[in-house]
Symmetry: C2
Subunit: 358 residues, 2 copies
């Protein structure tokens, strides 16, 4: 079931036109201030879009990479091209495992085929990955709903805190962390979402934007505020997405997630990660030691963009050049702080993820 | 000993000219982009400066209020004026106890005096409060130094994380949390400071600015990053300031402090609050329940200021009007997470503060 709407019209975050071989995606660097659809006709445009975060969110960058490989096969379906483009796309972002997962699935599907069959197969497989993402996220939402319903039986309004954007722009449709919130909205549960700003990229602006478009009550807060709200009983549960999760249930997600998990634990508030199976990395032993945490440009912290008095998207310098910046993009929340992992197969205690996916 | 310098010249954050009765203060809303001294010749200018955070930081707003009352006594030294102005200044900011403390000290000093003696006495007492603040902060730094030295014996470089600005602009001179860092610099200890941005007002920009001016190595980070750095052994201690501290050792400080205290505790990293005695509220029983947490304007989260391409200080809209904002200014870190309280009388375990100040 298609779900997400912008100004009343349904959109997926990314869509391929099967006749023209054009990939269209929402340029998320322009949100929430402008809704702009970009087109890619060459795989290097997908490469740039992932690297520059015009498409972002672990599930979406996996799907985008798959379409990128389909564009590459349209140009040249040789083994060399398959290997080169796969490596190049995989190098765009290091932390989310969905990227490597989608590229591995595409290459292992295409490699055995005759070269003349690869182009059509690549588009079919990329489309299948996109469609599966929608189905997975809808299922995650279905499994989230009873968790929200249980709280709704005790509270007039269910207050949910989320960090970063794990809504539909982070996926093809529905979102991961927000999927259950939309299911709860459909079930007429009264809820309210605390939206973390999520500096430095401020993906909370995307979350506020999509919740506004879907009519879900929400309040935007600085990243510093969540602990205080939890201390004062204003948060009933936390739901976040993930970029890479170990079978032990350690959750790598947007920087700052660990701090919110600590505060939830300290206040006895359930903390859930919504995790599609392509986000699970079965090879991980020690998530804290093994996952490469992307260090992004200091300019993301030093500068910020927004609308000026004329309504133009522009950027300002916050921090003078004389002070250095560090900008790690992700952190790892240990399984001991995670109440449950919500997957398309159901909810597992963090330590029992291997039971569903081992 | 005067300490802090801007472009090589010593400044206090606030100074009164005894001959002209003019109060000069650094306009902190213009930092770090411009160093501007403002003048107040009427107490209502001090009232605005505190409310609009041109002067901010618990110790400094106490001193500023004292000078505001001195300006008011110069105009009219009646009981009515004393009561009215004291109430008005006290209403500018609710959370830091230093404001009420300084006003109470001023009024109990002035009330018994003959009206004709109040003006001169008010200026003397305000100046005494300012001078005592400098001495207190220097003493806090002296008591912080051995804590840093102990780490320096085991590590080449001591990494200290701080939140908000508890440096010299938050006080008259030296700062509270940063005072010991400057003492360590004088003692030739190699150190490096992680500076939290501290959204929404981004007081970390002030901290980066003053550390740069004093030549202390530092790195600016988003508020979300500190937990990750602590997990990876990149933080040796945390030192923050405070706005109100109970005798039990519960620390009310800038929003987000609690999250960093949780992360420090989870990683076995010592967490200190640097607390001048005027910041201790002896009347508090339940800090979490009793302290009024200032809710500031949503525009502080919704908009941001910085330098545009022409080097002009300007502001941008980050979040569209359709999404509401909540903006609590402070949180309370429970004593159980606090390794020690550094005061001018020495360092106390959080639970033993009453021994020094009961």
């Amino acid at each position: 079931m298609p779900r997400m709407k912008v100004q009343g019209q349904h959109h997926r975050s990314i869509e391929a036109d099967p006749s023209t071989r054009i990939v269209r995606f929402i340029d998320q660097t322009r949100l929430p201030h402008a809704f702009v659809l970009s087109e890619a006709t060459h795989w290097t445009q997908i490469e740039s879009a992932i690297r520059d975060m015009a498409v972002r969110g672990a599930p979406l960058i996996g799907v985008a990479a798959a379409f990128g490989l389909a564009l590459a096969m349209t140009e040249d379906a040789s083994d060399d091209q398959l290997n080169l483009v796969s490596q190049r796309l995989n190098a765009t972002r290091p932390t989310a495992v969905n990227l490597a997962w989608a590229l591995e699935r595409m290459t292992s599907h295409l490699q055995p085929l005759l070269i003349e069959n690869r182009q059509a197969a690549a588009w079919r497989e990329a489309q299948a990955i996109a469609d599966e993402d929608v189905a997975i996220n809808e299922a995650i939402g279905r499994h989230t709903l009873p968790l929200i319903q249980a709280i709704a039986q005790k509270k007039d309004v269910v207050n949910i805190l989320t960090h970063c954007n794990a809504g539909w722009p982070a996926t093809v449709d529905w979102g991961t962390a927000l999927s259950g919130i939309y299911q709860a909205q459909l079930a007429n549960i009264r809820l309210h979402v605390w939206v973390d700003e999520t500096r430095p990229r401020s993906q909370g602006l995307l979350t506020a934007w999509e919740l506004r478009e879907q009519g879900v009550p929400h309040t935007f807060i600085a990243d510093n505020a969540g602990g205080h709200l939890m201390q004062h009983g204003q948060v009933d549960m936390v739901i976040v997405g993930a970029d890479r999760v170990s079978l032990k249930g350690d959750v790598c997600n947007k920087i700052g997630t660990y701090l919110k998990a600590l505060a939830a634990f300290d206040n006895g508030i359930p903390f859930y990660a919504a995790v599609p199976s392509p986000t699970i990395d079965r090879t991980l032993r020690d998530a804290l030691g093994e996952i490469e945490i992307e260090e992004r440009a200091g300019s993301e912290v030093r500068r910020i963009q927004g609308l000026d008095a004329d309504g133009q998207l522009t950027s300002l310098q916050l921090l003078p050049e004389g002070s250095p910046v560090s900008n790690p993009g992700f952190d790892v929340t240990p399984a001991r702080l995670v109440t449950g992992i919500i997957t398309e197969k159901g909810v597992a205690a963090a330590g029992e993820l291997a039971r569903l996916f081992g």
